[in-house]
């Protein structure tokens, strides 16, 4: 019983920032600027959400949504297709250089993004893949998608490899004994069984790309090119006249797709990085 009370306190402290974000977003302005906070408004309003995406008050929301969807969508589709091929190779074949490839993949996962900004910027700038101009030129688009992919491919390969290895070999072998070709067994047996893993990995790649800040900020440096995360990071302006209600509404809008997706797939993906040690 006493432990349950402790548990409730931990729950309250940990989730408070999320609660406070939503609570503030729904409050009328008087309650936000008051020195005595109102925990939950009795007069909830959606005005701040309207303001946050109003083109005259806070320009760029819809452009940012569009840019995010293009960049993240392309990153997800390309990453998953390429990563799936590599994951099949790792899960189904033994070959020279396999270990080296695995170590490289995991090594890249550990690279600090901040340490690679400068060479990436210099290289992309040389090929005109960064751009200061509106609207988003295809060059900058390609630059940011390729950069996202580089850091997401190792993750996707590693996770998908785990899902493919989770399918019992016997199922495919049985299909081949029954006269199916290797490709046929692959398409009819393996693919449907791996499909949930493919969906989960895609969603996780989506979330990571959607949240990315440092590369998107450097490569897509003009306002019309911003992704939603970058748009949000520039939202506040000076703190003296920050529109807190609108800022929290904007934060809520940015977080919603991520939270929804994350809740769907967390169980499937959570242990990818530590799988080795959890298995013991």
């Amino acid at each position: 019983m006493a432990w349950n009370v402790v548990g409730l306190v931990v729950f309250a402290v940990m989730t408070f920032p999320v609660f406070w974000m939503i609570s503030t977003a729904l409050k009328p302005d008087e309650e936000i600027i008051s020195g005595t906070p109102t925990w939950l408004s009795t007069r909830p309003t959606l005005d701040h959400f309207r303001d946050a995406i109003d083109p005259t008050l806070h320009p760029g929301f819809w452009d940012a949504v569009k840019n995010s969807l293009i960049v993240v969508g392309a990153t997800v589709v390309l990453s998953i297709v390429l990563a799936f091929l590599a994951a099949v190779a790792l899960a189904k074949y033994r070959f020279t250089g396999r270990k080296l490839f695995v170590v490289l993949m995991i090594g890249i996962l550990m690279l600090p993004a901040a340490g690679l900004i400068i060479p990436l910027y210099v290289v992309l700038a040389r090929y005109g893949l960064t751009n200061q101009d509106d609207p988003l030129p295809t060059g900058a688009l390609a630059g940011v998608i390729l950069t996202f992919m580089t850091f997401l491919l190792p993750f996707a390969v590693w996770t998908l490899r785990g899902f493919i290895m989770g399918v019992p070999k016997e199922l495919e072998e049985a299909a081949m004994v029954d006269g199916s070709s290797r490709l046929g067994a692959f398409l009819r047996i393996l693919l449907p069984l791996v499909a949930p893993g493919l969906v989960a990995t895609s969603i996780f790649v989506f979330i990571t790309a959607w949240n990315e800040y440092i590369f998107a900020n450097v490569i897509l440096s003009s306002q019309g090119n911003h992704t939603l995360t970058i748009w949000l990071s520039y939202f506040s302006g000076t703190s003296r006249n920050t529109d807190w209600g609108a800022l929290m509404a904007a934060s809520t809008l940015t977080a919603i797709p991520v939270v929804v997706f994350f809740l769907l797939v967390q169980r499937k993906i959570a242990f990818g990085l530590t799988a080795g040690s959890v298995k013991g």
Binding site: N4, V6, G7, V10, F11, M14, T15, P17, V18, W20, M21, I33, G35, T36, P37, L85, A86, A89, R98, K99, F101, I106, G107, I108, M110, L111, P112, A114, G115, L116, I117, I118, P119, L120, Y121, V122, V123, A125, R126, M149, T150, I207, Y213, I214, T229, L232, S233, F235, M248, S251, A255, V259, F262, L263, Q266, A270, G276, S277, V278, G280
Partner: protein, 325 residues
Amino acid sequence: MTSNQVPDTTAVAAGLDSHRARRRRRFSWARLFRASVPYLLLLPVAAVIGFVLGYPLYKLVTLSFQQYGLAELIQRKGTWIGLDNYESVLRDSIFWETLLRTVIFTAANVALTIVLGTLIALLLVRVSTWMRVLLTAGLVLVWSMPAVVAVQVFYWMTNFQNGVLSYVLAQLGFVGEQHDWYATSFSKLAMVTLLVVWGAIPFVTITVYAGLAQVPRELVEAAEIDGAGPFRVFWDVTFPILKPILLILTSLSIIWDFAVFTQAWLLISPSQIDATNYLMGVYVFVEGYAQSDFGRGAAISLLMVVMVATLSVIPVRRMARSDDV
């Protein structure tokens, strides 16, 4: 190291392969094609990574030996200046202060994350089922929050005029109303720590909780019957089983916290960032990219990448070993 004790399954598999190879058959195009299938499957991934990462990594090394600023970026040609960038960085007291600050910051963040995360995981075992469901759901919710969103919410909660953190702590008598949470370098970094630890706890808790499921119930009961208190049970029964999990969580946390960028850069806010509150990630970004001194920035970056790569040896080895099937 421990890897020597684990039978090398790759070697066993290689032995089988050579056994198969002994039954050599005639060369055929079909067989050559079959042997090259895995390489063909890996090719696209290798090409993208090689192009977008391999070349910049090579560039990082060469840039670090060059005078390379905005003028050189436009001309697309730097001037070779040997080790001057490294000399300039290593003689710069800001570099050493930043490194020391980052090491302390990392130690504090990792210790707080692992200790609090583990304590909450131990708590999860003791609470009733509905409380466990509620707490887990709350943790997953926190885990899912994008970093930039979390920064904005913390910025609002710690705001000077009417932040809720000052209000609550003033009610409890810890600080006066309108406390400035960003007054000193220490308090700025303490706020970043609060944000980073808050965001990192769920992953640690949920992973450790999964590990706790491996602790045999009978072992704990036997220890309790023998009169061991809760601390004794933790140290002698639970901890040894959790050790590999805690090791990888700690080493991953070290890597992530050492290279923190987004939270520090945005929460302290770019206008308040200076040499008194640099962390390595921020330092590299400001001195190299923001000031357009790409050559010197590359030297700092390379030093940072080498440090992180050294720290990565443990997690990379462990994860690569989990691949032995």
